[in-house]
């Protein structure tokens, strides 16, 4: 067993319930899991099984109703204040009024990096994914696959230690989806980050080393 510093995120009996009383929906039942540095994990499950909710819990975007989620490796520090976790969201998540370059650099600017630095890292990330020519476009001028790639580039520019991608191929045809997964894997390799991808597509799931299953809010791990 490697040291706890290797553990990027640690969920212990983390559960998430939406609504109250009769309307309450348990999106995630008490689930325990750990993501270690450098791992490639897929979470597969049917629609509504709680994949997105679990990912949001891991990203700290949502608080568990019961149980805990911790990040033993720590948050960003002064040397590099960008968050250690980057998320590729399931839906469109680009700011319509900013061009691709600005969108890609936005998390860095928000973290307080100087604009030129942010811009440089954003362009480098776009370059790496082979989409630097899109830098000046507006989100409305992009296809679904392109948008998803920009979202990946945005995460790449952040240089996180953990990349959480929520159905990055959900809206795409198989070929394009495959390319996005290629890009994700390449990006994670480039920055040496762990990768968690949710999907309902077994072919996507097979591209990753570890497969977890989500069913009715319950997380099952395969051997």
């Amino acid at each position: 067993m490697s040291s706890t510093c290797d553990v990027l995120v640690d969920c212990r009996d983390a559960a998430r319930t939406f609504g109250r009383g009769a309307n309450a929906v348990v999106a995630v039942h008490g689930s325990s899991c750990r993501v270690r540095a450098g791992k490639r994990i897929s979470i597969i499950g049917p629609s509504g099984s709680g994949k997105s909710t679990l990912l949001h819990l891991m990203a700290g975007l949502e608080r568990p109703t019961t149980g805990t989620v911790t990040w033993p490796a720590g948050e960003g520090d002064d040397a590099d204040p960008t968050p250690r976790i980057g998320v590729v969201f399931q839906g469109p998540s680009l700011i319509p009024a900013l061009d691709v370059g600005e969108n890609t650099g936005l998390p860095l600017v928000l973290a307080g990096l100087p604009e030129e630095v942010a811009r440089g890292r954003a362009l480098a990330a776009l370059e790496l994914l082979g989409i630097a020519d899109l830098a000046a476009r507006l989100p409305e001028e992009l296809s679904g696959g392109q948008s998803q790639r920009i979202a990946v580039a945005r995460v790449l520019a952040q240089r996180p230690r953990l990349v959480l991608a929520d159905e990055p191929t959900g809206q795409l045809d198989r070929a394009t989806g495959g390319q996005v997964i290629d890009v994700l894997l390449a990006a994670a390799a480039e920055i040496g980050a762990a990768l968690v991808v949710t999907t309902h597509d077994p072919t996507v799931a097979r591209r990753l080393d570890t497969r977890w299953r989500m069913h009715d809010g319950r997380l099952e791990m395969e051997a």
């Binding site: 975007l61 960008t82 700011i95």
Partner: protein, 885 residues
């Protein structure tokens, strides 16, 4: 299905729906309030015009007709409350010997008045001193002859022996112009001034004295039947005018040429109906922009939800809903907005009426109040329809969801910008303004010989196009600035947005069109508030000037004719609240055979006690001309007509004949023509002179003062006047500004503009706050997604607030600056175009700084509140916002 849809709207789109309803309500309330106010004002005008006339009709019995028969006919005419015969005879002159010196006058008029004349026509004769009945002598005649009650005057009547009568009282004939009119003669043929010399006799005495005259020349004595009417008149001055003129013609026809009606009531209503038209124009000018603004506001609110609606609509279509059904749903939404907004608006209007006038109907009749309510309500439905339903219909053509998503942003400039519509509109506005300037801004046209009068709505085009063109130009400039001024913009928002400043300016640059629209809306509201309040303030200032002009000063103490009080008597008038007492001499002087009023002033001090506007004079400012009077004491300011009549050039000698108190005879005194005076405190509207009081004292041997002008610093006029009245009793007449203000002026100035002002300014404030707040709030609602993304990417709430406040600051600055510029231009143009409602025309604009500051603060507060509210919304778990996608 419609019920479900509307229910859903009410539940999920509450904010947008409520904002639309408020927009419609504002427009409806404004239109209903102003409409009811207008109707109420019009009927006030009719009432005032009716009340202002002492003798409604003067029915001139034609030569050869039997006065008795005409009188009988008049008395049986419907709507006649009282009819009395008045007889007129010309006198070759009056003479009086008082204290050993004899004075005589030129030709005069002798009237015979039947018993009860003053009771039937209360306003016709105003007793000044002595008895109110018996032989009465007009004030100026008494002054000319130096007679007082008890003295004897000899009347010279053609064909009769000189007839001595004893004067019982001195009277003023306030409506001498109409009393001595040439009945039936056109305007140009009317005497330019009423006769200077008038004696009123009891009818019996008149008959006795004029019997020999009548015997030699029956035409030398004429009879008028004076008529007081009590017929019910329509509330609208124009209809009242038509009714009265019709009745007069009818009477003339029934006498079959035996009588001609001098229609004083008709003439007064004629004036009132043009004033009513002016009021209507004012209503349009001051009310319509507000209503339009409220409509624009509604449209922007509805438009802010357009993207969402388009998506919903397209979705409904893909789910198989037919176009007709989609239209029905949009129609239902429009109906909800229109009806709710209309009802709310009428409620607000009733409340405003109650608050401003103590009457929900603003004092208008039930009928007209209902009509206006219906009209306003209909307008509200129209606004709701065009803001909600029309865009939905338009979008039906872009049927697919994909298209719907794209339609929102179009990169290239709109059609008006490409053809330069803003410049075209501004150019036309300027041309129209020039043209109406050449026309001396005559808005209300009353062509000679045509019964109907009309408004030259062309002139209105100037300000309207200025407003529209200005708004478009502002939009163009704002878009240009937001698009190309990114460096400046970034620096501008840096204090608020911090390291996100360039992100903020990039966002603003991309969203420049909606942002510019918000700015323009704010600018329009601010300019509406600015121009309305400036116009109202200027109007009030001029009404004040008018009242001051008529009354002379805050409080004026007028000496009775023949009084000998010198300037020192002014010391007795100092009481609490009096700042300054300024003596003003009032004499009469002949120039040629023309008798005019002569005012003797102390040039160094007169300006401090009353306002002498430059507009009162020509040939120099008031200061300069007073300086001339001081440095050259024999200088004389004369009226324009006198300059024309005598072809005077500056420096010419003008010989006036003045009464020398030492010899009690007229003596010729040389003056030098130094400038033109058009108006002067207490002076009549026609010709008069202004000269140096010291010089007049020197040449006439008398320092008698005609009136004391008392400056109270603009306050406490009423209390000071009361105190002086108590002190002076009947020895002098005390008048104050507040009482004059309600008594003088056209019927337009007498309209309760204060109430109108309150309504207008309240609405302007609400519109400014509304356009500032609502637009930004809705803009923010549409951008919640952006904030959510910012937050999930690691942004802090403070950073989001910075973005919002930065944008708000830019919208506020742009809107206020644009509004100030547009408001200033509009005010200048409005005041010029509406010159006709001002009396006298203003020398400059009166800017109500306090109100403008309040408006600015309100707008800023509304924007800040909207911005902070928007940022607070961002605290909702952003991930949920993102999921809504």
């Amino acid at each position: 299905m419609i019920a479900t849809w509307v229910g859903g709207l009410l539940r999920w789109r509450t904010g947008r729906l409520a904002a639309c309803v408020i927009g419609v309500a504002l427009a409806v309330a404004l239109a209903a309030s102003l409409g009811s106010f207008l109707t109420a004002s019009k009927s006030t005008m009719t009432e005032r015009a009716t009340r202002s006339v002492a003798v409604d009709w003067q029915v001139q019995v034609q030569p050869g007709a039997d006065p008795g028969a005409v009188l009988a006919l008049v008395r049986t005419t419907a709507g006649v409350r009282g009819a009395l015969p008045v007889t007129f005879a010309r006198s070759t002159g009056f003479r009086a010997t008082v204290g050993g010196s004899t004075q005589s006058t030129g030709a005069g008029v002798v009237l015979g008045l039947p018993d009860g004349y003053q009771a039937t026509f209360p306003g016709a004769i105003r007793p000044l001193t002595g008895a109110g009945s018996g032989v009465l002598i007009a004030q100026q005649t008494a002054a000319n002859l130096h007679v007082a009650p008890g003295d004897e005057v000899t009347l010279a009547l053609p064909g009769a022996l000189p007839a001595p009568v004893r004067v019982a009282g001195v009277v003023d004939l306030p409506q001498a112009d109409s009393l001595f009119q040439q009945v039936g003669a056109p305007k140009q043929a009317q005497p330019s001034a009423p006769p200077d010399n008038v004696v009123l006799l009891p009818a019996a005495l008149f008959d006795t004295l004029t019997a020999p005259t009548r015997a030699t020349d029956p035409a030398a004595v004429t009879t008028q039947i004076h008529v007081a009417r009590n017929a019910h008149l329509p509330a609208d001055p124009a209809s009242a005018f038509t009714a009265v003129v019709g009745a007069a013609h009818n009477l003339e026809a029934r006498t079959s040429g035996g009588a001609v009606v001098g229609d004083n009531l008709g003439a007064a209503l004629d004036g009132a109906r043009s004033d009513a038209l002016y009021a209507q124009v004012l209503f349009l000018f001051l009310g319509l922009p507000g209503a339009i603004l409220a409509a624009l506001l509604t449209a922007s609110v509805a438009g802010a939800g357009a993207d969402r609606r388009r998506r919903e609509q397209a979705l409904l279509r893909t789910r198989g809903l037919r176009a007709r059904q989609v239209v029905a749903l949009a129609g239902a939404e429009a109906a909800v907005v229109g009806v709710a907004g209309g009802l709310l608006g009428l409620g607000v209007a009733a409340l405003v009426g109650q608050l401003a006038f103590g009457q929900a109907s603003f004092g208008a009749g039930v009928g007209s109040a209902t009509t206006w309510s219906l009209v306003a309500f209909g307008g509200g439905l129209l606004i709701a329809g065009s803001a909600v339903l029309v865009p939905a219909l338009r979008d039906l053509r872009t049927a697919t969801v994909a298209q719907a998503g794209r339609a929102a942003s179009s990169a290239h400039a709109p059609w008006w910008s490409r053809i330069g519509l803003d410049f075209i509109l501004l150019a036309i506005s300027l041309l129209v303004f020039r043209a109406s300037g050449a026309n001396r801004y005559s808005l209300v046209l009353a062509p000679e010989g045509v019964a109907a009068i009309s408004v030259s709505y062309w002139a209105l085009l100037g300000p309207v196009l200025l407003w529209l063109g200005g708004a478009l130009l502002l939009q163009r400039l704002a878009v240009l600035f937001l698009g190309h001024g990114r460096a400046v913009l970034t620096r501008l928002v840096r204090p608020l947005a911090g390291n996100l400043a360039s992100t903020a300016s990039a966002t603003m640059a991309r969203r420049r069109r909606p942002l510019a629209r918000s700015m323009v809306l704010l600018a329009l509201a601010v300019s509406f508030a600015a121009s309305t309040s400036t116009f109202n303030a200027t109007y009030r200032q001029q009404a004040e000037v008018d009242a001051r002009l008529t009354n002379g000063a805050d409080v004026t103490v007028t000496q009775p004719p023949g009084a000998r009080a010198g300037p020192d008597a002014g010391r007795a008038l100092t009481t609490a609240g009096v700042r300054r007492v300024e003596p003003l001499q009032h004499r009469f002087a002949y120039v040629g055979s023309d008798l005019q009023d002569l005012y003797g002033v102390r040039p160094a001090t007169i300006g401090a006690a009353t306002s002498l506007q430059d507009a009162y004079f020509s040939g120099g400012s008031s200061k300069a001309l007073m300086a001339t009077l001081a440095s050259r004491p024999d200088s004389l300011l004369v009226s324009n007509e006198t300059v024309q009549d005598f072809r005077l050039n500056l420096g010419d000698t003008v010989n006036l004949r003045l009464r020398d108190e030492r010899t009690r005879d007229l003596r010729t005194v040389p003056f030098h023509y130094a400038g033109i005076v058009k108006e002067f405190p207490t002076a009549p509207k026609d010709s008069f002179f202004v000269a140096n009081a010291d010089y007049i004292t020197k040449v006439t041997g008398s320092d008698a003062v005609g009136a004391f002008l008392i400056d109270t610093g603009g306050t406490r006029q009423h209390a000071v006047a009361d105190e002086l009245r108590r002190r002076l009793g009947t020895t002098a007449t005390v008048t104050d500004l507040t009482q004059t203000r309600s008594a003088v002026g056209s019927s337009l100035t007498s309209v309760d503009l204060a109430g109108l002002t309150r309504i207008e300014l309240g609405f302007a404030l609400a519109l400014a706050a509304g356009s500032a707040g609502i637009v930004l709030a809705l803009g923010l609602a549409e951008r919640r997604r952006t904030f959510a993304i910012t937050l999930v990417l690691g942004g802090t709430a403070r950073q989001v607030r910075g973005l919002v406040l930065g944008e708000a600051a830019v919208v506020t600055l742009g809107g206020l600056a644009g509004g100030a510029a547009l408001g200033w231009a509009l005010s200048e143009m409005l005041v010029k175009v509406l010159t006709g409602v001002f009396d006298p025309p203003p020398a400059g604009l009166a800017v109500p700084w306090a109100y403008l500051a309040a408006t600015t603060l309100t707008a800023v507060a509304a924007i800040t509140a909207a911005a902070i509210n928007g940022a607070r919304h961002a605290h909702r778990p952003p991930i949920e916002e993102l999921r809504d996608g």
